[in-house]
């Protein structure tokens, strides 16, 4: 892990870069340093290195008003340097919101004053700026070389309590020729606990990886960022951001509802009753289910009314998201169920009959409410979709249809493998993995849950985002808290 600190160098209130510290080489990258700072923050950086080049030239702080604007507008932890020569300069920088100040020349020309500041402001708020050219410490905006050799110079200050050192190799700065890695390694070998900030020469993602691999704690990026040679994603990665963690894998009990009662079919026949759907749903929610699915398997008009009433009760009593499906044929069905309080609706046969239904739902209510449920079987000629509760094959391939549904605006695919459903021998992991690969929306695995390992496999091998099951939960064969505990121990991100 390495802390990557983007830099804003200021001349006339603008964001510039110099090459090897030469003011004649100035290139303006952004007229608005505040906008630039906000952009860095948006990309996930936590810190910012601000250099007052006008200040370095004038030998006193100049751009403190710009610093103030940056610290007012962002939550970035800013270190500020350039032209800090007096106590008044330091106080101005802190008053303008700097978290730390970088002090270079004074440490060379007036060591006793630097030590006094170190004691007054604390070692966490001061960064010793050691700019190096040909092994010697350079001062006054790099225009003069001192007689100080770097390592003895550092020793003096480390012994006095300095913890943060910003070391710039002037011969590298702004050249995009790679950082002075040997120099930094040498410093780290000597002072392994130092927070060394490497600066100058970083030209690519690889340079940053190299610094990280060699254990350099922090690095400044300047020109390479502005020239687009470094990716924000790589920086986040090197800073330890775990993009993988993201969303928890979801466990979803499914309740089939007929005339207000839950039922569960084995291979879609032999219905067995398992109680009041709202009570059961509440029980699942309290025991850690992440979502619920209620499927209306009633065909009649009266049954539909009963189901809508049940949806209203679920919405009143349950505090996790739930999806409803079954018999959704047109937008008015969707409206009725969403108005009753459902978070999402799932469409199945009707969407295969009339795929525009998906566009209509997504257009009217957003993709996030539209779950496309697909029942499919791995026939001799490949995976095919089935409609009417699995009774009728349609000439439509599973993967083609899933992709099309996603293109039309579905928010999720709920894929039930009819071959696996009710068999309790694991999910259709190969087909799931292929769906995950080919379809750009979340996949809910359904059909085949028999034991805890099956859920792990659906997430790991099948790359599913969620796993749905019914009878193993309804008949208490798997308890959700135990399942979650197991998955957590298996290293899967689940909500407990």
């Amino acid at each position: 892990m390495i802390e990557i600190i983007p830099a804003i160098d200021l001349i006339d209130g603008k964001c510039v870069r110099l090459t090897k510290g030469d003011y004649n080489s100035k290139k303006v990258y952004n007229d608005d340093p505040v906008a630039q700072a906000k952009e860095f923050e948006r990309q996930g950086f936590r810190r910012l290195h601000v250099v007052d080049l006008d200040g370095a030239k004038s030998k006193h702080i100049v751009n403190d008003a710009v610093l103030r604007k940056i610290t007012d507008a962002t939550g970035l932890k800013v270190d500020f340097g350039g032209g800090i020569k007096t106590d008044e300069d330091i106080r101005k920088a802190f008053a303008a919101g700097a978290s730390m100040v970088t002090i270079g020349s004074i440490a060379v020309t007036h060591p006793e004053l630097f030590i006094e500041w170190l004691n007054r402001y604390g070692t966490d708020r001061l960064i010793l700026g050691a700019d190096v050219r040909n092994g010697k410490v350079s001062i006054n905006g790099w225009k003069e070389d001192s007689s100080e050799e770097l390592l003895p110079f550092l020793r003096k200050y480390v012994e006095a309590g300095v913890k943060n050192v910003l070391c710039t190799d002037i011969s590298k700065d702004g050249t995009l020729q790679g950082p002075a890695i040997e120099l930094y390694k040498q410093i780290m070998e000597e002072y392994p606990h130092l927070n060394l900030i490497a600066s100058g020469g970083v030209s690519s993602n690889e340079d940053l990886s190299g610094l990280e691999k060699d254990g350099i704690p922090s690095a400044i990026v300047g020109k390479a960022w502005y020239e687009g040679r470094i990716s924000a994603e790589k920086c986040r990665d090197l800073m330890g951001f775990k993009a993988n963690r993201g969303l928890a894998k979801r466990i979803i009990p499914c309740l089939d509802v007929k005339n207000g009662e839950t039922v569960k079919g084995t291979n879609f026949v032999n219905l067995r009753s398992a109680g009041d759907p709202v009570e059961l749903g509440k029980l699942y929610s309290d025991s850690g289910a992440d979502e619920l699915v209620f499927l209306d398997i009633t065909a009649s008009f009266e049954g539909r009314k009963t189901f809508t009433d049940m949806v209203e009760r679920v919405a009143r009593e349950i505090n996790i998201p739930f999806t409803v499906g079954g018999g959704i044929n047109e937008l008015s069905d969707v409206k009725r169920l969403l108005d009753a309080g459902a978070d999402k609706v799932s469409v199945n046969s009707a969407a295969i009959r009339r795929p525009e239904l998906i566009n209509e739902i997504a257009g009217e209510y957003g993709s996030q409410v539209c779950v496309c449920a697909i029942d499919a079987r791995n026939d001799a000629d490949g995976w095919h979709c089935y409609v009417k509760g699995g009774r009728e094959r349609v000439e439509l391939g599973l993967f083609d249809w899933a992709r099309e549904a996603a293109d039309r605006g579905a928010g999720e695919i709920l894929f039930t493998s009819m071959d696996h459903d009710g068999v309790k021998n694991g999910f259709a992991n190969e087909a799931l993995a292929r769906l995950a690969e080919e379809v750009p929306i979340p996949i809910i695995a359904s059909g085949g849950a028999g034991k805890k390992e099956h859920f792990r496999d659906a997430f790991v091998k099948g790359k599913a985002d969620a796993a749905l099951a019914a009878s193993v939960f309804h008949f208490g064969e798997i308890k959700i808290p135990e399942l979650k505990e197991y998955l957590c121990n298996e290293g899967i991100n689940v909500r407990i």
Binding site: Q43, R46, A73, G75, F241, K242, G246, A315, Q368
Partner: protein, 229 residues
């Protein structure tokens, strides 16, 4: 205590009403300026599209009403985004309580799906933790002090916010394609594609990107905490 919910053209407000009912609170759903101004607490929830939501708010002069509120206000989901300065969604100027712009998620990997939908941990921001993390105190102490440091009183009281990751923390339910980046007002963050703001706070305005009303017990606790502010 009177609790008002801002009535506008956003969806899914009913679930907030239901959540308040479960806490024994009867909210008023209203677009009446004086009712809003006189309520003890305001909720500004919803799901929807930014430009049409802002157009509605302006047309009904609710934009000025919301900006002028002085009691605790909680924005939820699109409510949070509308409290920001600008949204990339429909290139929309928003209310500007939080001076930060809202952006659309751009997936960098195949696994990153948009909308981001599901449960996530949130953690207090590193800056506010650093403010209070001086002597290696326990995490709960850290969190309590973090809450104080951010002037946040007790929005997270009783919630377990995890700074490290692990399954034991509270998870909250998110559904969104747009995000508020990290900013000065971030008091808790979440990770999806990049780190972003999960909870914002400034003066009397709080907001969450997630849906506390759909976040199980953790969300219920947070709503309870807000009502007790």
């Amino acid at each position: 205590m009177s609790v008002a919910i801002v009535k506008y053209n956003a969806g899914n407000i009913r679930s907030v009403v239901n959540a308040l009912h479960r806490l024994g609170v009867e909210p008023v759903l209203t677009d009446d300026a004086s009712v809003l101004r006189n309520a003890d607490k305001i909720l500004f929830p919803g799901q929807g599209e930014a430009s049409s939501a802002m157009a509605y708010l302006r047309e009904h002069r609710l934009d000025e009403v919301i900006k002028g509120l002085t009691q605790p206000v909680l924005g939820i989901c699109i409510g949070q985004q509308l409290l920001c300065r600008h949204s990339e969604e429909g290139d929309t100027g928003c209310l500007g309580i939080f001076d930060v712009d809202v952006y659309r998620f751009h997936p960098t990997r195949h696994e990153d799906k948009v909308p981001a939908m599901g449960w996530q941990e949130v953690r207090p921001t590193e800056a506010s933790l650093a403010l209070s993390n001086e002597d290696g105190a326990s995490r709960e102490d850290d969190l309590n002090r973090q809450a104080c440091a951010s002037g946040n009183k007790s929005l997270f009281r009783g919630n377990v916010l995890n700074a490290e990751g692990g399954c034991q923390a509270d998870y909250f339910y998110f559904v969104h394609s747009y995000y508020v980046p990290l900013c000065k007002w971030t008091i808790a963050e979440a990770d999806y594609i990049l780190p972003y703001s999960a909870v914002l706070h400034k003066d009397n305005f709080w907001s969450t990107q997630f849906h506390p009303e759909k976040s199980g017990k953790a969300g219920e606790q947070l709503l309870k905490n807000f009502l007790a502010l």
